[in-house]
Amino acid sequence: MIASPLVAACGSDSGGITVNVYYSTEENFDKVVANCNAAAAGRYTIALNVLPRGADDQREQMVRRLAAGDTDMDVLGLDVTWVAEFAEAGWISEWTGQDKADVEDGTLAGPLATAKWEDKLYAAPKNTNVQLLWYRSDLVPTPPKSWGEMLEQAQRLKAEGKPGGILMTGAQYEGLVVQFATLTAGAGGKILSDDSTRAVVDDGAVKALEALRDLANSPAASPSLSNAKEDNIRQEFESGKSAAFQLNWPFVYASMAKSNPDLAKVFKWAPYPAIDPSKTGTATLGGFNLAISSYSQHKPEAFEAAKCLRSAENQKYSAINSGVPPTIESVYDDPEMAQPYPMRDAILDELKNPAVRPITPAYQNVSTLISTILSPPGAIDPKATAARLRTELQDALDSKGVLP
């Protein structure tokens, strides 16, 4: 309420064009916006509107307003899994011509795939994300190459009375879907067919279900596994009491350096361990894409603003200051990245071999069903659970089913 008169005032100073950006909470993103406003030199002013923290809440706000044809939203920060849904509903504009060429130039293939729907580009990848295996080098001299090896090492540590816990996002939400998707890809399996019209849930997915169950029923699992989200496991690991491993996004690195500098010295990372050791390092992509609302009144300015917000220079700034992995390959080679972003090579390796989550307009339904059916992970019965996934996911894809 306080910000709106200010925004209006800025708008009138620059000839009246205000580009409204809706983006989730990201540290220092306001500085990126300020850079772009300076670059725009008064042709337009970007107003940053911060969306709620929870992914579901972000999506709900945008979806509700777009469904009503709200013209006040210009640039939308979309989680990588939402692009297909928004594109199919006709809420976001296609990127064409020079804008498209600018976005495709130098952008990594995995993140770029998340911005496309039916071979058309609907968004510009702003930042990406992959999970890594984080471990304590004082307890684990060599990081495990496979899921099974990780369980063995953890159980051995537990048996010796040392902190040997494995922390994973096992609550009934998107985080559990990410683990399932990563493990399925790491077993060479598929959840949906390539064109996302059929639920496959093949042998690889069954192996992934076995792996989740084995972890949940192992003494190495945390008692609150079935309620753990990213931030819970970050905190539990930082306390240094119980865990030797955590499967989490790179934001944990900067956080550890701040909250527990002693533990940070032995806080190391390795590729995400797969069921099949030869596929270790395959990880599910997260991150955000920038899309332009179909109802925007200032589309040319919105496209320009979006390109600025994701420029190589600004991506480097965000990576160094906010820890979010860039989508432009050349940024990783920048010498300034080496010191503040030491895990960049591990991230880049995973980005070159990504497991993209199912791309479908019905993703929200698919994700809700997977997290419901897989929860709690300790109760998974691999073959039966896979069969249930197959029938219920098929209904969701046909938008027939009922969401739990």
Binding site: V63, A171, S224, S226
Partner: protein
Amino acid sequence: MKTVTDGKKAERRLGLWLCAPAALVMVAVTAYPIIYSVWLSLQRYDLRFPAEREFVGIENYVTVLTNSYWWSAFGVTTLITVISVAIELVLGMALALVMHRTLVARGLIRTVALIPYGIVTVVAAFSWRYAWDDNTGYLAQLFAPDAAPLTQRASALGIIILAEVWKTVPFMALLLMAGLALVPEDLLKAASMDGAGPWQRFTKVMLPVMKPAILVALLFRTLDAFRIFDNIFVLTSGAQQTGSVSMQTYNNLIRGLNLGIGSTMSVLIFIAVAAIAFLFVKVFGAAAPGNDGGKR
């Protein structure tokens, strides 16, 4: 019928005219949305597939009514409704008796007892959630130090019911106190002269006189409890099958953007609520509020 005079007729016509603005507003804000959701419930209408919108008749009803998630949510809702209203009735009655018989600081006691009802449900739900959080919650550490009560189905349902009961007992007590005020002191004195003990006076004198008030209180609370949403939304978000029918409608309508299925569910909830009201009014003889003057 012939005895209605012209004067009466004119009076009745004036009455209808005077009612008309209110009736129009009611039609605009309640009848229209209800009819519109019935209309939506007969269509395949998913905002994400706008091109595939079509009329499908009762297909959505078949889909929902043959779905195990729906019946699981329906069971959860019924369970929460029955248990919480039963507990609320007992505790509400006890609280009403206390408030009714209080001799000193009556106003203060009544105000204090009403505080939980005055707190916004979402705020109260958050304080319950933090109290039962497995890491930081004081209640969790007191009663279940090694478990995460909000992640187990049975204990989570228990906490949801507890939050409901804590919140609405004062409301129940308030409604019942209005009934208690109807019990004539003379009747109670006469009963005790005849040798009736406190328990007999309560069951044989007070309860029968209070029956209309009790039924209205039960009706209000049952209708309310059946539509439970905010406590579940905050406490568990419906995880581990603790979602109510309203939660599920929200998930399909707002999160899933499936207007057809979502509207079908809201129509079904409407029917269920209407059935509850019908049951109370016709079977148990609860008087509609404002309609009970004639009986006494």
